[in-house]
Symmetry: C2
Subunit: 229 residues, 2 copies
């Protein structure tokens, strides 16, 4: 064995908020929401549980730091992608931001749950600012900008929460198609008397595209906003 074992963390580097957040993200990605404990985290960082408290006040702050780290990447990455993309209309900018969040949640399922519960922390505020600027650019009357941006943000966060919830239902690593066909089967077996609508759309659920449906919702709100002008 000439290949040296690679540890994700080196013992020599000093602890820092950034390294802690990074390790937390790794742990959340690999082991899910339940996998992030101060003990597991300190083991990965080769230190004691108490050491982490020197840099982070408590678990909420730890989760916020992890959320912030991932979403910062997502928001900067998708505005970059926008440059080489379709026409730079405000509508497309809103779609790009929304999809950036959606894809980040897809890659880190725990992120959805966090975004849906943290509210008004720095992460959500940055997202709100992002959306608000585009709403302004859309030419929405001043007195309707707040409501419009709010609607978009809340819709995005709602989808975030539901995606996270769906991810938690299934064992980690289940493919998206499997999740959909499992859920579709549940819907198809509902009492037709009590659930006529859901049974009707059960077939559509099986082979629909989450991402496309998410975007359809964004477009619906954008159409509503357009009607304000």
């Amino acid at each position: 064995m000439t290949t040296r074992t690679r540890h994700t963390e080196r013992r020599e580097e000093a602890l820092s908020r950034e390294r802690i957040a990074e390790a937390a993200v790794e742990l959340l990605d690999v082991a899910g929401e339940g996998g992030l404990t101060f003990r597991a985290l300190s083991a990965q960082l080769r230190t004691g549980p108490g050491a982490i408290y020197w840099h982070v006040a408590n678990k909420d702050e730890l989760l916020a730091a992890a959320t912030d780290a991932v979403l910062t990447d997502a928001l900067t990455a998708d505005t970059a992608a926008l440059a080489g993309d379709a026409p730079g209309t405000p509508e497309n900018a809103v779609r790009a931001v929304a999809l950036g969040v959606f894809d980040a949640i897809d890659a880190h399922p725990w992120l959805g749950a966090q975004l849906a519960r943290v509210a008004s922390m720095s992460t959500t505020l940055r997202l709100f600012e992002c959306i608000g600027r585009q709403v302004q650019a859309l030419g929405v009357p001043e007195n309707a900008q707040f409501d419009s941006a709010s609607a978009l943000l809340n819709y995005i966060l709602g989808v975030a929460g539901q995606n996270a919830a769906n991810a938690r239902t299934q064992p980690p690593g289940t493919s998206r198609a499997d999740v959909l066909s499992a859920e579709s089967a549940v819907w198809a077996n509902l009492d037709p008397e009590d659930y006529p609508f859901i049974r009707n759309v059960a077939a559509q659920l099986r082979d629909h595209d989450d991402r496309a449906q998410f975007l359809a919702g964004v477009d619906l709100i954008l159409a509503g906003i357009a009607s304000l002008r």
Copy 2:
């Protein structure tokens, strides 16, 4: 002291899923999300922690039962209110359902967090069915019904999550006006360079109406849906 002390729970009644759910709701209302523990619950029910597990599989199921109990009341109450209300258009029915959920969350802040994380449990499905029927009644083309109902549901659940998060930030019992002015102050102090939009709307936040803004979002989506016909 001739007045007899009234206990919320009588020792004599047998345990049941319903009584457990009821007591859980009471505990959540009084002590918040952190107040619901099997020990506290069994103390209130004058029994042992193990007894609860005979009727409820685990804590997730306990929370689901509590959520279900509250939302069932909300959904039946608001459809009743609809009868004596404004014209019975499908739009108004959607508004009534949405406001029913909003007000239920207002009365039980923990409900928002639950709705935002449970997904596809019976509670959310019933809400989805409710909305879907009205979308159908709106005359939305068949192939757009699923997306439209999804958008409405996700928006409602997004607001649910954010309201719950806001409630958790402030100490329990803080008035809505206090929450808003505290948050407004945070917004007004943001760096004007990084957060021009949010600083702009900070003033609107202070004396805005959560409920009205929620309804504005619903109307935005309804306007988007109307544009599909």
